[in-house]
């Protein structure tokens, strides 16, 4: 069943890899991003490699009032929608500059949650569909080093969990992706431990598999489930003194 796949935040490395992984399985692709005309080469790439139809769509996740119209403008209601939208920001700036903190909160929670909510209602009306939200292990427990980003992802994770619960009986499935570290533009300036860091392609293949097998929550590298179980088990009295 090769339904169209909508990729939100299509410029991200994870999104590009995900678009390729679905196109390789012959799905038509809808790439949505701010300044979508800049993705002409990505469109050409998917068409050249996989001989599938690809369309480009301008999309700003923060323009929540425009989300219904955005979905109306798609050539077809997608069967699968993946949100790779996110903004890491600088924790130190987020602590002192409210505007920056708000941007991080809105870009990781409000925008992605609202668009997936809009798509969810359409999927319910049709009676089918899969929504994939890329959240983060940073949302599993707030830490000093990135709790503004983490809190927004926590909100998004909770939203996806609730959405999944609501839609479970309506043949619409929701996948929550917590990729752990990924080697992308977002983390290019960080020195990440190799064993814990996935390549975008790994995340993409895990997403395709999760959609096919209707998985609920995936951690791309299995080790992350363990790491986060341990981190979440540390008593708060101890945790507050650590610097993880």
């Amino acid at each position: 069943m090769t339904v169209p796949v909508l990729i939100l935040g299509a410029r991200s490395d994870i999104a590009r890899a995900t678009a390729r992984a679905f196109a390789a399985k012959r799905h038509p692709i809808q790439l949505a991003a701010r300044g979508a005309e800049g993705l002409a080469a990505d469109k050409a790439d998917l068409e050249t490699r996989y001989n599938v139809e690809v369309t480009l769509h301008d999309f700003d996740a923060l323009d929540v009032a425009g989300h219904e119209a955005f979905v109306d403008g798609l050539p077809a209601l997608p069967g699968i929608a993946v949100s790779a939208i996110g903004l890491m920001g600088e924790q130190a700036e987020n602590e002192t500059d409210p505007a920056k903190a708000v941007a991080v909160m809105r870009s990781n929670f409000e925008g992605p949650a609202v668009i997936l909510g809009v798509l969810a209602n359409r999927f319910v009306n049709r009676g089918s569909g899969t929504l994939v939200g890329i959240s983060s292990v940073a949302g599993d427990r707030g830490r000093a080093s990135n709790y503004v980003y983490g809190a927004a992802k926590a909100g998004f994770t909770a939203f996806l969990s609730g959405l999944r619960n609501r839609l479970a009986k309506q043949n619409v499935h929701v996948v929550t992706v917590k990729p752990g570290f990924v080697n992308t533009a977002m983390t290019a300036h960080l020195d990440l431990p190799a064993r814990l860091t996935a390549e975008p392609r790994e995340v993409a293949l895990a997403i395709v598999q999760a959609v096919e097998k209707s998985r609920n929550i995936i951690y791309v590298r299995p080790i992350w489930r363990l790491v986060m179980t341990v981190i979440c088990a540390i008593p708060e009295a101890v945790f507050k003194k650590t610097s993880i």
């Binding site: 990505d42 050409a44 790439d45 050249t48 490699r49 996989y50």
Partner: protein
């Protein structure tokens, strides 16, 4: 970060950036001492610049394909493996491929790589219609045989020292299946191997694996392997319905650097003898799949770790046709006398080559690899001298240790290339550890 080529030597501390668009790339180039790096398969220091190594692998988009001409336009970071993945199912294969598919198109162009079909089709250059190259100021010029022809000539084989290759148009070859009709000819001596090459100049693929440990009467004992793309009707029955589909080989990762004693002259000798006798039993014609035929080593990820932490050296030279028989004999005698058997030794006939600075020339090329032991290091100058004596030259994509004087003596084009670079003010903008070592 610590950076090295595929041979794990030399290792150097280098700043590596991985830009995602042309503007970011231009800003890096403007900093000077830049060298573009693809998938890191050059063996030595060709793609290392301590101050400014530019990882091009984000430029990995295929831009268009014309089924009427077989022309593929793609960004330089696209890998040959991706080209095969995308196009073999549609009946197309790279026109020229080296022994690994894990290389970028940019790297293939910079090294002007060759394959088993050089004697018929020439080097990679033969399939390149045009390239886009970014110069020192971030300007991009389209270069082909007609347009900016001089830049085109020096960039093919120019080891990234003329600018950053951004995009290319290459022609693919139509094939009728993903299978190869392989013919194995055991040759008991070097001379017999060369005779086999000369007798089969019309067969598109040919290569010989040499048992470098064989001595005396068996010196140069080899397995000559010829190949042609198979017709759909020759595909093994199990695969006949999907003649382009790869038979999935499981990738075996080589987990860690092997301890130094794994590859010693004794084990290498044993391996080589066993390989020869196994091959000799497979004498005659067989149908084999493309992956196993062209890329046997790709099935073992990180096979370079076999050589341990100290890494290994490649030696690859070409000798002109009229000096090849005698020169190869001398090279093999020198190796055999040194007791330093090479693990994988490959002999190949080259056809004519017309280009500014590419490695091939009509004659025979010999490729060897040695662990970086003291004895092997001591053997290199001897092999260099024999190559010089016979009018041969060296492959820069394999080189990690050649002195500048040797290159200058072997290849007068090196000085011309350096001069051309100086005239355009390129040395300040584009440099690698190799270009500095070799005064390019």
């Amino acid at each position: 970060m610590q950076l090295s080529g595929w041979g794990n030597f030399p290792k150097a501390e280098a700043r590596v950036s991985a830009p995602r668009d042309e503007a970011a790339l231009a800003a890096l180039v403007a900093e000077g001492s830049a060298i573009a790096r693809g998938n890191g398969r050059a063996y030595g220091d060709s793609a290392i610049s301590p101050r400014n190594t530019i990882d091009m692998r984000h430029f990995d988009r295929m831009l268009s394909f014309n089924p009427a001409t077989g022309q593929l336009v793609a960004e330089a970071g696209v890998m040959l493996a991706d080209v095969i993945d995308a196009f073999l199912p549609r009946g197309w294969f790279p026109m020229v491929t080296p022994g690994t598919k894990l290389i970028t198109l940019g790297g293939a162009i910079a090294a002007d790589v060759h394959g088993k079909n050089h004697h018929v089709d020439g080097s990679f250059r033969a399939c390149v219609d045009w390239i886009d190259v970014m110069g020192p100021g971030g300007e991009v010029s389209r270069c082909s045989h007609e347009e900016n022809a001089e830049m085109f000539d020096w960039t093919l084989g120019g080891m990234g020292l003329t600018g950053v290759i951004l995009r290319c148009a290459i022609r693919l070859r139509p094939v009728k299946s993903g299978w190869i009709r392989q013919q194995m000819i055991p040759a008991d001596t070097l001379s017999a191997a060369i005779d086999a090459f000369e007798a089969n100049m019309g067969i598109p693929y040919s290569v010989a694996w040499i048992d470098c440990a064989a001595k005396g009467a068996h010196l140069g004992r080899s397995l000559v392997m010829l190949g042609e793309h198979a017709e759909p009707g020759e595909v093994p029955p199990r695969y006949r319905a999907t003649p382009f589909k790869a038979t999935r080989h499981r990738k075996i990762p080589f987990p860690m650097n092997a301890p130094g004693f794994v590859l010693n002259p004794l084990t290498v000798r044993a391996f080589n003898a066993a390989y020869y006798w196994k091959g000799a039993r497979q004498k005659g014609t067989r149908i084999v799949d493309w992956d196993g035929y062209f890329y046997p080593l790709d099935a073992i990820l990180h096979w370079n770790r076999l050589y341990g932490r100290r890494g290994f050296m490649q030696f690859q030279c070409v000798l002109p046709q009229d000096a090849a028989r005698e020169g190869m004999q001398r090279l093999l005698s020198a190796i055999s006398e040194s007791g330093q058997a090479s693990f994988l030794s490959v002999l190949k006939r080259f056809g004519p080559q017309d280009s500014a600075f590419s490695f091939p020339m009509e004659g025979y090329t010999l490729a060897l690899d040695f662990p970086r032991s003291r004895a092997a290091i001591a053997l290199m100058p001897e092999l260099d001298a024999i190559t010089l004596d016979h009018g041969g030259r060296f492959y820069l994509a394999k080189d990690s240790r050649m002195p500048a004087e040797i290159l200058a003596q072997a290849d007068p084009r090196a000085e011309a290339f350096a001069e051309w670079r100086r005239d355009r003010g390129l040395p300040a903008s584009f440099a690698s550890l190799q270009s500095e070592r070799l005064h390019l």
